[in-house]
Amino acid sequence: MIAGFFNPDVTSPEPYIRAYVLLPDVANVWIPLPLLVDTGSGATCVHPHDAVHRLGSRLDDLLDTTRWPGFEVRGGVGGSAAYALTSARYAFRHDDGRVQRIDTELRIAVPTAGNQGLPSILGWDILQHFTFTADWRARIVRLEP
């Protein structure tokens, strides 16, 4: 079981899971990354503040899509958004001490006026590997195999 948490600084439910991410094309380090669980998203995405602060990306690099191995435009309720694609390794720490690794891709949002402060989100590319529980009344957030 992987324990998550609700954002303690807001009064509305925001369920988060802490993942650890390693980007093989960038650096050989595991980075803790809190991800807002979004069951409406097909993919896990990092937004610009986390990209520069946690992943060490430069905003200029994010704007230059020719620097990235892949690139795609995804749709959402706020309209379409552009994402750089890079391979990623995720690690999740179970409460019994096991570490679960998932190799897939990560999408990093190209900065816009509207997405700079958005939380990074955990989508179904990762969620499909787990049973997800979010119980606001009991303040429980968890992923289970």
Partner: protein, 95 residues
Amino acid sequence: MRRENELTDPEIEAPSVEELDRVRAEADAEDGYFHEHFDELYRTYPEQFIAVKDGEVLTTDPSLFDFCAQLEARGIRPYDVWTTFLTKRGAKLTL
């Protein structure tokens, strides 16, 4: 966080629990600071990015571009200090 000149080993194993707990402890210290001081910081710098080092506010700005530029002008990389976006607008988000 990324550090300059760190190259990637093509055969990267799953991290150890000890490694994850070490990097998590660093992140928890940062998250704990912003949670503990959220109300006072939000009163002064609502809906802004903020950088803090050793309890001192280094810079704030509502634009991530300007925020990063201000840090860069001081020779500071955004991943070398504690930063967050001070917001209460989560309930208004529809992702």
